[in-house]
Protein backbone atom coordinates (compact mmCIF):
# COMPACT_ATOMS: atom_id res chain seq x y z
CA UNK A 1 0.00 0.00 0.00
CA UNK A 2 1.37 3.41 -0.90
CA UNK A 3 2.02 5.90 1.83
CA UNK A 4 -0.20 8.46 0.17
CA UNK A 5 -3.44 6.50 0.51
CA UNK A 6 -4.11 7.78 4.02
CA UNK A 7 -2.69 11.29 3.83
CA UNK A 8 -5.23 12.91 6.13
CA UNK A 9 -4.53 10.57 9.05
CA UNK A 10 -0.78 11.09 8.76
CA UNK A 11 -1.19 14.80 8.32
CA UNK A 12 -3.20 15.11 11.51
CA UNK A 13 -0.87 12.81 13.45
CA UNK A 14 2.31 14.50 12.29
CA UNK A 15 1.45 18.18 11.92
CA UNK A 16 -1.11 18.07 14.71
CA UNK A 17 1.23 18.11 17.73
CA UNK A 18 3.19 21.16 16.54
CA UNK A 19 0.02 22.98 15.48
CA UNK A 20 -1.63 22.19 18.81
CA UNK A 21 1.42 23.41 20.77
CA UNK A 22 1.55 26.66 18.80
CA UNK A 23 -2.20 27.24 19.20
CA UNK A 24 -2.25 26.48 22.89
CA UNK A 25 0.86 28.35 24.00
CA UNK A 26 1.11 31.09 21.39
CA UNK A 27 -2.13 31.94 19.58
CA UNK A 28 -4.48 31.50 22.55
CA UNK A 29 -2.23 33.51 24.93
CA UNK A 30 -2.11 36.34 22.36
CA UNK A 31 -5.90 36.27 22.05
CA UNK A 32 -6.21 36.20 25.83
CA UNK A 33 -3.94 39.25 25.94
CA UNK A 34 -6.35 41.07 23.65
CA UNK A 35 -9.24 40.08 25.93
CA UNK A 36 -7.40 41.12 29.11
CA UNK A 37 -6.59 44.52 27.58
CA UNK A 38 -10.28 45.42 27.80
CA UNK A 39 -10.86 44.08 31.32
CA UNK A 40 -10.75 45.94 34.62
CA UNK A 41 -7.59 46.31 36.64
CA UNK A 42 -7.07 44.46 39.90
CA UNK A 43 -4.69 46.57 41.97
CA UNK A 44 -3.14 43.55 43.66
CA UNK A 45 -1.80 42.45 40.27
CA UNK A 46 -4.26 40.65 38.11
CA UNK A 47 -7.51 41.16 36.28
CA UNK A 48 -11.08 41.98 37.29
CA UNK A 49 -12.87 39.75 34.80
CA UNK A 50 -16.05 41.06 33.23
CA UNK A 51 -15.52 44.77 33.94
CA UNK A 52 -15.17 45.54 30.27
CA UNK A 53 -13.84 48.97 29.35
CA UNK A 54 -11.15 50.74 27.42
CA UNK A 55 -9.40 52.31 30.39
CA UNK A 56 -6.14 50.59 29.51
CA UNK A 57 -6.11 52.16 26.05
CA UNK A 58 -7.13 55.66 27.14
CA UNK A 59 -4.34 55.49 29.71
CA UNK A 60 -1.92 55.78 26.80
CA UNK A 61 -2.96 59.42 26.36
CA UNK A 62 -5.01 60.43 29.37
CA UNK A 63 -4.76 60.22 33.10
CA UNK A 64 -7.55 60.01 35.63
CA UNK A 65 -6.94 62.50 38.41
CA UNK A 66 -7.81 61.70 42.03
CA UNK A 67 -11.02 63.74 41.78
CA UNK A 68 -12.14 61.75 38.75
CA UNK A 69 -11.42 64.33 36.03
CA UNK A 70 -9.54 63.18 33.00
CA UNK A 71 -6.43 65.07 31.95
CA UNK A 72 -4.11 64.71 29.00
CA UNK A 73 -0.93 62.86 29.94
CA UNK A 74 1.51 62.13 27.18
CA UNK A 75 4.23 60.52 29.30
CA UNK A 76 3.43 57.02 28.07
CA UNK A 77 2.97 58.19 24.52
CA UNK A 78 6.42 59.80 24.71
CA UNK A 79 7.88 56.37 25.52
CA UNK A 80 6.21 54.97 22.42
CA UNK A 81 7.49 57.83 20.25
CA UNK A 82 10.97 57.36 21.72
CA UNK A 83 10.85 53.65 20.90
CA UNK A 84 9.88 54.41 17.31
CA UNK A 85 12.57 57.11 17.05
CA UNK A 86 15.31 54.89 18.49
CA UNK A 87 14.29 51.98 16.24
CA UNK A 88 14.26 54.25 13.18
CA UNK A 89 17.69 55.59 14.17
CA UNK A 90 19.00 52.05 14.62
CA UNK A 91 17.57 51.09 11.24
CA UNK A 92 19.18 54.10 9.52
CA UNK A 93 22.61 53.56 11.09
CA UNK A 94 22.44 49.86 10.22
CA UNK A 95 21.50 50.67 6.63
CA UNK A 96 24.27 53.22 6.13
CA UNK A 97 26.91 50.99 7.71
CA UNK A 98 25.50 47.70 6.45
CA UNK A 99 25.27 48.59 2.77
CA UNK A 100 29.01 49.03 2.05
CA UNK A 101 29.72 45.88 4.06
CA UNK A 102 27.19 43.91 2.00
CA UNK A 103 28.66 45.36 -1.20
CA UNK A 104 32.14 44.36 -0.12
CA UNK A 105 30.95 40.84 0.69
CA UNK A 106 29.05 40.45 -2.58
CA UNK A 107 32.11 41.41 -4.63
CA UNK A 108 34.47 38.85 -3.06
CA UNK A 109 35.31 35.41 -4.39
CA UNK A 110 33.11 32.45 -3.39
CA UNK A 111 35.58 31.33 -0.75
CA UNK A 112 35.81 34.69 0.96
CA UNK A 113 32.05 35.16 0.84
CA UNK A 114 31.49 32.03 2.91
CA UNK A 115 34.04 33.21 5.48
CA UNK A 116 32.53 36.71 5.65
CA UNK A 117 28.96 35.39 6.00
CA UNK A 118 30.15 33.17 8.82
CA UNK A 119 31.81 36.15 10.53
CA UNK A 120 28.66 38.29 10.20
CA UNK A 121 26.37 35.51 11.45
CA UNK A 122 28.51 34.32 14.35
CA UNK A 123 27.83 37.13 16.88
CA UNK A 124 24.09 36.82 16.29
CA UNK A 125 24.12 33.39 17.88
CA UNK A 126 25.97 34.52 20.97
CA UNK A 127 24.13 35.66 24.06
CA UNK A 128 22.32 38.98 23.54
CA UNK A 129 22.58 39.83 27.21
CA UNK A 130 26.32 39.22 27.23
CA UNK A 131 26.83 41.26 24.05
CA UNK A 132 25.02 44.19 25.61
CA UNK A 133 26.88 43.73 28.88
CA UNK A 134 30.15 44.00 26.94
CA UNK A 135 29.10 47.52 25.94
CA UNK A 136 28.70 48.47 29.60
CA UNK A 137 32.39 47.62 30.02
CA UNK A 138 33.22 49.91 27.09
CA UNK A 139 30.91 52.82 27.86
CA UNK A 140 31.13 53.10 31.65
CA UNK A 141 32.62 56.16 33.32
CA UNK A 142 35.82 54.19 33.89
CA UNK A 143 35.23 51.93 30.96
CA UNK A 144 37.59 51.16 28.10
CA UNK A 145 36.59 54.11 25.91
CA UNK A 146 36.77 56.72 28.65
CA UNK A 147 40.00 55.32 30.06
CA UNK A 148 41.60 55.36 26.63
CA UNK A 149 40.50 58.94 25.95
CA UNK A 150 41.72 60.03 29.40
CA UNK A 151 45.03 58.31 28.84
CA UNK A 152 45.42 59.99 25.45
CA UNK A 153 44.62 63.30 27.10
CA UNK A 154 41.71 64.01 24.77
CA UNK A 155 39.39 64.58 27.73
CA UNK A 156 40.07 65.54 31.32
CA UNK A 157 37.10 63.80 32.90
CA UNK A 158 34.99 60.82 31.81
CA UNK A 159 32.27 61.45 29.24
CA UNK A 160 28.78 60.30 30.27
CA UNK A 161 28.45 57.59 27.62
CA UNK A 162 26.25 55.10 29.43
CA UNK A 163 22.56 55.39 30.38
CA UNK A 164 21.45 57.62 27.54
CA UNK A 165 19.77 57.30 24.16
CA UNK A 166 23.08 57.09 22.32
CA UNK A 167 24.09 54.05 24.38
CA UNK A 168 20.75 52.38 23.59
CA UNK A 169 21.12 53.16 19.87
CA UNK A 170 24.66 51.72 19.88
CA UNK A 171 23.44 48.61 21.67
CA UNK A 172 20.46 48.09 19.36
CA UNK A 173 22.58 48.58 16.24
CA UNK A 174 25.10 46.15 17.66
CA UNK A 175 22.40 43.58 18.43
CA UNK A 176 20.55 43.62 15.11
CA UNK A 177 23.11 44.65 12.47
CA UNK A 178 23.44 41.15 10.93
CA UNK A 179 19.73 41.33 9.99
CA UNK A 180 20.56 44.31 7.78
CA UNK A 181 23.77 43.05 6.20
CA UNK A 182 22.54 39.58 5.23
CA UNK A 183 19.40 40.48 3.20
CA UNK A 184 21.23 43.30 1.38
CA UNK A 185 24.04 40.89 0.65
CA UNK A 186 21.63 38.32 -0.76
CA UNK A 187 20.15 40.84 -3.20
CA UNK A 188 23.56 42.23 -4.18
CA UNK A 189 24.89 38.73 -4.68
CA UNK A 190 22.35 38.14 -7.45
CA UNK A 191 23.44 41.23 -9.39
CA UNK A 192 25.22 40.55 -12.64
CA UNK A 193 28.25 42.79 -12.13
CA UNK A 194 28.67 43.09 -15.89
CA UNK A 195 25.84 45.61 -15.58
CA UNK A 196 28.12 47.73 -13.42
CA UNK A 197 30.90 47.43 -15.97
CA UNK A 198 28.48 48.33 -18.75
CA UNK A 199 27.45 51.40 -16.80
CA UNK A 200 31.09 52.51 -16.59
CA UNK A 201 31.63 51.77 -20.26
CA UNK A 202 28.78 54.19 -20.92
CA UNK A 203 30.70 56.88 -19.02
CA UNK A 204 28.60 56.82 -15.84
CA UNK A 205 30.36 58.01 -12.72
CA UNK A 206 30.62 55.83 -9.64
CA UNK A 207 27.84 57.81 -7.97
CA UNK A 208 25.55 57.46 -11.01
CA UNK A 209 26.25 53.74 -11.21
CA UNK A 210 25.45 53.33 -7.55
CA UNK A 211 22.24 55.33 -7.83
CA UNK A 212 20.98 54.03 -11.17
CA UNK A 213 22.20 50.43 -11.24
CA UNK A 214 23.17 49.01 -7.87
CA UNK A 215 20.70 50.66 -5.48
CA UNK A 216 17.55 49.77 -7.51
CA UNK A 217 18.69 46.16 -7.69
CA UNK A 218 19.54 46.05 -3.99
CA UNK A 219 16.29 47.73 -2.97
CA UNK A 220 14.30 44.59 -1.98
CA UNK A 221 17.14 43.49 0.29
CA UNK A 222 17.37 46.95 1.83
CA UNK A 223 13.64 46.99 2.61
CA UNK A 224 13.80 43.49 4.08
CA UNK A 225 16.82 44.49 6.18
CA UNK A 226 15.07 47.63 7.44
CA UNK A 227 12.04 45.62 8.60
CA UNK A 228 14.20 42.93 10.17
CA UNK A 229 16.10 45.57 12.17
CA UNK A 230 13.15 47.85 12.96
CA UNK A 231 10.80 45.20 14.38
CA UNK A 232 13.11 43.62 16.98
CA UNK A 233 14.46 47.06 17.95
CA UNK A 234 10.94 48.29 18.60
CA UNK A 235 10.23 45.41 20.94
CA UNK A 236 13.64 45.23 22.57
CA UNK A 237 13.82 44.74 26.30
CA UNK A 238 17.36 43.81 27.29
CA UNK A 239 19.29 46.65 25.59
CA UNK A 240 17.36 49.61 27.07
CA UNK A 241 17.26 47.79 30.41
CA UNK A 242 21.05 47.47 30.56
CA UNK A 243 22.40 50.41 28.54
CA UNK A 244 19.60 52.91 29.03
CA UNK A 245 18.62 54.54 32.26
CA UNK A 246 15.26 55.51 33.69
CA UNK A 247 14.93 58.21 31.02
CA UNK A 248 15.36 55.87 28.06
CA UNK A 249 12.56 53.36 28.69
CA UNK A 250 11.17 51.74 25.56
CA UNK A 251 7.80 50.04 24.97
CA UNK A 252 9.23 46.64 25.92
CA UNK A 253 10.37 47.90 29.32
CA UNK A 254 7.08 49.68 29.90
CA UNK A 255 5.25 46.41 29.18
CA UNK A 256 7.59 44.53 31.49
CA UNK A 257 7.00 47.07 34.28
CA UNK A 258 3.24 46.41 34.22
CA UNK A 259 3.91 42.81 35.22
CA UNK A 260 6.38 43.77 37.91
CA UNK A 261 6.33 46.86 40.08
CA UNK A 262 3.36 48.64 38.44
CA UNK A 263 0.99 45.64 38.60
CA UNK A 264 -1.33 46.76 35.86
CA UNK A 265 -2.05 43.78 33.65
CA UNK A 266 -4.74 45.31 31.43
CA UNK A 267 -2.44 48.24 30.63
CA UNK A 268 0.44 45.85 29.97
CA UNK A 269 -1.85 43.83 27.70
CA UNK A 270 -3.00 46.98 25.87
CA UNK A 271 0.62 48.02 25.31
CA UNK A 272 1.32 44.52 24.03
CA UNK A 273 -1.57 44.81 21.56
CA UNK A 274 -0.28 48.21 20.49
CA UNK A 275 3.20 46.79 19.85
CA UNK A 276 1.65 43.90 17.90
CA UNK A 277 -0.24 46.44 15.79
CA UNK A 278 2.96 48.39 15.02
CA UNK A 279 4.73 45.16 14.02
CA UNK A 280 1.78 44.19 11.83
CA UNK A 281 1.89 47.57 10.06
CA UNK A 282 5.62 47.19 9.44
CA UNK A 283 5.22 43.65 8.11
CA UNK A 284 2.26 44.35 5.83
CA UNK A 285 3.95 47.42 4.38
CA UNK A 286 6.88 45.15 3.63
CA UNK A 287 4.65 42.48 2.06
CA UNK A 288 2.98 45.10 -0.16
CA UNK A 289 6.33 46.56 -1.15
CA UNK A 290 7.66 43.12 -1.91
CA UNK A 291 4.69 42.32 -4.14
CA UNK A 292 5.07 45.56 -6.07
CA UNK A 293 8.73 44.81 -6.55
CA UNK A 294 8.02 41.28 -7.70
CA UNK A 295 5.60 42.66 -10.30
CA UNK A 296 8.17 45.18 -11.49
CA UNK A 297 10.62 42.31 -11.68
CA UNK A 298 8.38 40.46 -14.10
Amino acid sequence: MRASTRPLVFRILLIGPAALAMCLFMVIPLMLMGWISIQGRDYSGGVLWGEIGFDAYTRLFFERELDGTIALNLNYFKIILRSIWLSALTMTISLVVGFPVALFMATRSQRWRAVLIFMVTLPFWTNLLVRNYAWILLLRDHGTINNTLLWLGVISEPLPLLHNQLAVAIGLTYSFMPFMVLPIYSSLEKIDFRLVEASFDLYASRWQTLKRVILPLAFPGMVAGCILVFVPSLGSYVTPELLGGGKTLMIGNLIGLQFGAARNWPFGAALGMFLLLLVLIALTSYARNYRTNAQVGK
Partner: protein, 270 residues
Protein backbone atom coordinates in the same frame (compact mmCIF):
# COMPACT_ATOMS: atom_id res chain seq x y z
CA UNK B 1 47.95 46.97 -2.88
CA UNK B 2 46.97 43.37 -2.64
CA UNK B 3 44.14 42.55 -0.29
CA UNK B 4 42.44 39.21 0.23
CA UNK B 5 39.69 38.60 -2.27
CA UNK B 6 40.92 41.15 -4.81
CA UNK B 7 41.59 39.74 -8.22
CA UNK B 8 42.30 42.06 -11.08
CA UNK B 9 42.78 45.81 -11.14
CA UNK B 10 40.10 47.52 -13.17
CA UNK B 11 38.87 51.00 -12.48
CA UNK B 12 35.20 50.32 -13.15
CA UNK B 13 35.19 47.18 -11.07
CA UNK B 14 32.84 47.40 -8.07
CA UNK B 15 35.38 45.34 -6.14
CA UNK B 16 37.63 48.36 -6.08
CA UNK B 17 35.18 50.93 -4.88
CA UNK B 18 36.80 53.31 -2.47
CA UNK B 19 35.86 52.93 1.15
CA UNK B 20 34.08 49.60 1.08
CA UNK B 21 37.08 47.71 2.40
CA UNK B 22 37.62 50.27 5.16
CA UNK B 23 33.89 50.31 5.99
CA UNK B 24 33.93 46.52 6.27
CA UNK B 25 37.06 46.52 8.42
CA UNK B 26 35.45 49.09 10.75
CA UNK B 27 32.27 47.03 10.83
CA UNK B 28 34.06 43.88 11.91
CA UNK B 29 36.05 45.83 14.49
CA UNK B 30 32.76 47.17 15.86
CA UNK B 31 31.25 43.70 15.92
CA UNK B 32 34.14 41.83 17.51
CA UNK B 33 35.88 44.45 19.66
CA UNK B 34 33.41 44.40 22.60
CA UNK B 35 33.46 40.60 22.69
CA UNK B 36 37.25 40.49 22.62
CA UNK B 37 37.57 43.17 25.31
CA UNK B 38 35.12 41.25 27.51
CA UNK B 39 37.17 38.06 27.16
CA UNK B 40 40.46 39.86 27.82
CA UNK B 41 39.08 41.56 30.94
CA UNK B 42 37.83 38.23 32.27
CA UNK B 43 41.50 37.24 32.70
CA UNK B 44 42.38 40.46 34.51
CA UNK B 45 43.61 39.94 38.06
CA UNK B 46 42.39 43.36 39.18
CA UNK B 47 39.03 43.82 40.88
CA UNK B 48 38.33 47.20 39.28
CA UNK B 49 37.59 45.28 36.07
CA UNK B 50 38.62 47.85 33.47
CA UNK B 51 42.27 48.52 34.30
CA UNK B 52 44.56 45.73 33.17
CA UNK B 53 47.10 44.73 35.79
CA UNK B 54 47.98 41.14 35.03
CA UNK B 55 46.82 37.71 33.93
CA UNK B 56 44.77 35.62 36.30
CA UNK B 57 42.36 32.70 36.23
CA UNK B 58 41.04 33.63 39.66
CA UNK B 59 37.59 34.72 38.47
CA UNK B 60 37.02 31.50 36.58
CA UNK B 61 37.98 29.54 39.69
CA UNK B 62 35.60 31.66 41.78
CA UNK B 63 32.82 31.15 39.24
CA UNK B 64 33.22 27.39 39.33
CA UNK B 65 33.16 27.39 43.13
CA UNK B 66 30.01 29.48 43.32
CA UNK B 67 27.04 27.22 44.11
CA UNK B 68 24.49 29.66 42.67
CA UNK B 69 26.32 29.74 39.36
CA UNK B 70 26.53 25.95 39.21
CA UNK B 71 22.82 25.69 39.97
CA UNK B 72 21.97 28.32 37.33
CA UNK B 73 24.13 26.52 34.77
CA UNK B 74 22.42 23.22 35.57
CA UNK B 75 18.99 24.84 35.15
CA UNK B 76 20.08 26.35 31.83
CA UNK B 77 21.24 22.99 30.55
CA UNK B 78 18.09 21.15 31.74
CA UNK B 79 15.80 23.74 30.15
CA UNK B 80 17.78 23.96 26.90
CA UNK B 81 18.01 20.16 26.52
CA UNK B 82 14.34 19.41 27.13
CA UNK B 83 13.06 22.37 25.09
CA UNK B 84 15.33 21.88 22.10
CA UNK B 85 14.66 18.14 21.92
CA UNK B 86 10.86 18.58 22.23
CA UNK B 87 10.90 21.38 19.67
CA UNK B 88 13.00 19.31 17.25
CA UNK B 89 10.69 16.29 17.55
CA UNK B 90 7.56 18.41 16.97
CA UNK B 91 9.28 20.25 14.11
CA UNK B 92 10.52 17.08 12.40
CA UNK B 93 7.11 15.43 12.56
CA UNK B 94 5.39 18.50 11.12
CA UNK B 95 8.07 19.15 8.50
CA UNK B 96 7.81 15.65 6.99
CA UNK B 97 4.21 16.40 5.98
CA UNK B 98 4.59 20.11 5.36
CA UNK B 99 7.31 19.53 2.78
CA UNK B 100 5.25 17.16 0.65
CA UNK B 101 1.54 17.80 1.21
CA UNK B 102 -0.62 20.50 -0.30
CA UNK B 103 -3.66 21.44 1.75
CA UNK B 104 -5.76 24.34 2.93
CA UNK B 105 -4.26 26.04 5.93
CA UNK B 106 -0.69 25.31 4.98
CA UNK B 107 0.11 29.03 4.78
CA UNK B 108 -1.67 29.57 8.07
CA UNK B 109 0.44 26.88 9.71
CA UNK B 110 3.66 28.37 8.35
CA UNK B 111 2.64 31.82 9.57
CA UNK B 112 1.74 30.44 12.98
CA UNK B 113 4.99 28.54 13.44
CA UNK B 114 6.96 31.68 12.45
CA UNK B 115 5.19 33.84 15.07
CA UNK B 116 8.03 33.53 17.60
CA UNK B 117 10.49 35.03 15.11
CA UNK B 118 8.19 37.75 13.74
CA UNK B 119 6.74 39.10 16.99
CA UNK B 120 9.09 40.79 19.51
CA UNK B 121 9.72 38.29 22.30
CA UNK B 122 8.33 40.47 25.10
CA UNK B 123 4.78 40.18 23.68
CA UNK B 124 4.38 36.38 23.71
CA UNK B 125 6.32 36.29 27.00
CA UNK B 126 3.83 38.45 28.89
CA UNK B 127 0.87 36.92 27.01
CA UNK B 128 1.94 33.45 28.13
CA UNK B 129 2.54 34.79 31.64
CA UNK B 130 -1.08 35.94 31.81
CA UNK B 131 -2.28 32.67 30.25
CA UNK B 132 -0.44 30.49 32.79
CA UNK B 133 -1.47 32.75 35.67
CA UNK B 134 -5.13 32.57 34.62
CA UNK B 135 -4.92 28.79 34.56
CA UNK B 136 -3.33 28.79 38.00
CA UNK B 137 0.00 27.26 36.92
CA UNK B 138 2.96 27.49 39.31
CA UNK B 139 5.82 29.38 37.67
CA UNK B 140 9.06 27.46 37.56
CA UNK B 141 11.06 25.10 35.37
CA UNK B 142 7.91 23.65 33.77
CA UNK B 143 6.50 26.96 32.53
CA UNK B 144 9.93 28.06 31.28
CA UNK B 145 10.37 24.79 29.36
CA UNK B 146 6.97 25.22 27.66
CA UNK B 147 7.82 28.81 26.69
CA UNK B 148 11.23 27.82 25.34
CA UNK B 149 9.85 24.88 23.36
CA UNK B 150 7.49 27.27 21.57
CA UNK B 151 10.09 29.84 20.54
CA UNK B 152 12.58 27.10 19.62
CA UNK B 153 10.08 25.53 17.18
CA UNK B 154 10.74 27.80 14.15
CA UNK B 155 14.52 27.58 14.63
CA UNK B 156 14.29 23.78 14.45
CA UNK B 157 11.52 23.67 11.85
CA UNK B 158 12.98 25.92 9.14
CA UNK B 159 16.29 24.06 8.48
CA UNK B 160 14.55 20.67 8.64
CA UNK B 161 11.85 21.68 6.17
CA UNK B 162 14.46 23.20 3.85
CA UNK B 163 16.35 19.91 3.90
CA UNK B 164 13.18 17.88 3.26
CA UNK B 165 12.16 20.09 0.36
CA UNK B 166 15.53 19.44 -1.23
CA UNK B 167 15.01 15.69 -0.96
CA UNK B 168 13.86 13.53 -3.84
CA UNK B 169 10.26 12.48 -2.99
CA UNK B 170 10.68 9.37 -5.15
CA UNK B 171 12.95 7.90 -2.46
CA UNK B 172 10.11 7.63 0.06
CA UNK B 173 7.78 6.39 -2.70
CA UNK B 174 10.30 3.71 -3.66
CA UNK B 175 10.47 2.60 -0.04
CA UNK B 176 6.67 2.35 0.03
CA UNK B 177 6.66 0.39 -3.22
CA UNK B 178 9.08 -2.04 -1.62
CA UNK B 179 6.52 -2.70 1.13
CA UNK B 180 8.15 -0.59 3.84
CA UNK B 181 5.47 0.70 6.18
CA UNK B 182 5.51 4.51 6.64
CA UNK B 183 7.29 4.34 10.00
CA UNK B 184 9.96 2.04 8.65
CA UNK B 185 10.31 4.18 5.52
CA UNK B 186 10.79 7.26 7.69
CA UNK B 187 13.51 5.74 9.88
CA UNK B 188 15.30 3.90 7.08
CA UNK B 189 15.00 6.34 4.18
CA UNK B 190 13.91 9.84 5.15
CA UNK B 191 15.62 10.34 8.51
CA UNK B 192 19.14 9.33 7.42
CA UNK B 193 18.90 11.85 4.60
CA UNK B 194 17.66 14.74 6.72
CA UNK B 195 19.76 13.93 9.80
CA UNK B 196 22.30 16.76 9.28
CA UNK B 197 19.38 19.21 8.98
CA UNK B 198 17.75 17.80 12.11
CA UNK B 199 20.99 18.03 14.12
CA UNK B 200 21.66 21.52 12.84
CA UNK B 201 18.14 22.57 13.86
CA UNK B 202 18.54 20.89 17.24
CA UNK B 203 21.77 22.74 17.99
CA UNK B 204 20.34 26.10 16.93
CA UNK B 205 17.28 25.53 19.12
CA UNK B 206 19.59 24.57 22.00
CA UNK B 207 21.67 27.77 21.66
CA UNK B 208 18.58 29.95 21.39
CA UNK B 209 17.15 28.39 24.53
CA UNK B 210 20.46 28.58 26.41
CA UNK B 211 20.84 32.29 25.64
CA UNK B 212 17.28 33.34 26.26
CA UNK B 213 16.58 36.03 28.78
CA UNK B 214 13.15 37.61 28.21
CA UNK B 215 10.92 34.51 28.18
CA UNK B 216 12.79 32.96 31.12
CA UNK B 217 12.52 36.22 33.08
CA UNK B 218 8.74 36.45 32.72
CA UNK B 219 7.82 32.75 32.87
CA UNK B 220 10.32 31.77 35.54
CA UNK B 221 9.71 31.42 39.24
CA UNK B 222 11.54 30.24 42.30
CA UNK B 223 14.16 27.66 41.40
CA UNK B 224 14.26 28.33 37.67
CA UNK B 225 17.13 30.84 37.63
CA UNK B 226 19.22 30.31 34.52
CA UNK B 227 22.66 31.73 33.73
CA UNK B 228 21.35 34.74 31.77
CA UNK B 229 18.94 35.57 34.62
CA UNK B 230 21.77 35.24 37.13
CA UNK B 231 24.08 37.44 35.03
CA UNK B 232 21.33 40.04 34.64
CA UNK B 233 20.85 40.18 38.41
CA UNK B 234 24.59 40.71 38.97
CA UNK B 235 24.93 43.31 36.22
CA UNK B 236 22.14 45.41 37.67
CA UNK B 237 23.90 45.61 41.04
CA UNK B 238 27.27 46.37 39.48
CA UNK B 239 29.98 45.05 37.23
CA UNK B 240 32.07 42.31 38.82
CA UNK B 241 34.91 40.22 37.39
CA UNK B 242 32.94 37.02 38.01
CA UNK B 243 30.34 38.23 35.52
CA UNK B 244 33.09 38.68 32.93
CA UNK B 245 34.23 35.11 33.51
CA UNK B 246 30.75 33.51 33.22
CA UNK B 247 29.86 35.74 30.27
CA UNK B 248 33.02 34.73 28.44
CA UNK B 249 32.25 31.07 29.08
CA UNK B 250 28.73 31.52 27.69
CA UNK B 251 30.11 33.28 24.60
CA UNK B 252 32.58 30.48 24.05
CA UNK B 253 29.93 27.78 24.40
CA UNK B 254 27.66 29.53 21.87
CA UNK B 255 30.55 30.00 19.44
CA UNK B 256 31.50 26.31 19.60
CA UNK B 257 27.89 25.15 19.19
CA UNK B 258 27.03 27.50 16.33
CA UNK B 259 30.21 26.59 14.46
CA UNK B 260 29.22 22.94 14.83
CA UNK B 261 25.70 23.65 13.58
CA UNK B 262 26.86 25.69 10.59
CA UNK B 263 29.42 23.01 9.78
CA UNK B 264 26.65 20.37 9.76
CA UNK B 265 24.53 22.69 7.61
CA UNK B 266 27.36 23.05 5.10
CA UNK B 267 27.95 19.33 4.99
CA UNK B 268 24.32 18.72 4.09
CA UNK B 269 24.27 21.28 1.28
CA UNK B 270 27.14 19.52 -0.50
Amino acid sequence: MSLPGFKKPYKGDARYWPGIFIATACFFAYVYMPIIILIILSFNENRTVTVWTGFSLEWYALAFENRDIIRAATNSLIIASISSISATILATLAATRMATDKFNGKTAFNAMISLPITVPEIVPAVATLMFFASLGFTFGLGTVIIGHTIFCLPFAYLPIRARLEGMDPRMAEAAADLYANPIRAFFRVTLPQILPGVLSGLILAFIISLDDFVTTFFLGGAGSTTLPIYIFGLVRTGVTPEVNAISSLMLLLSLVLVSLSLFLGREQSR
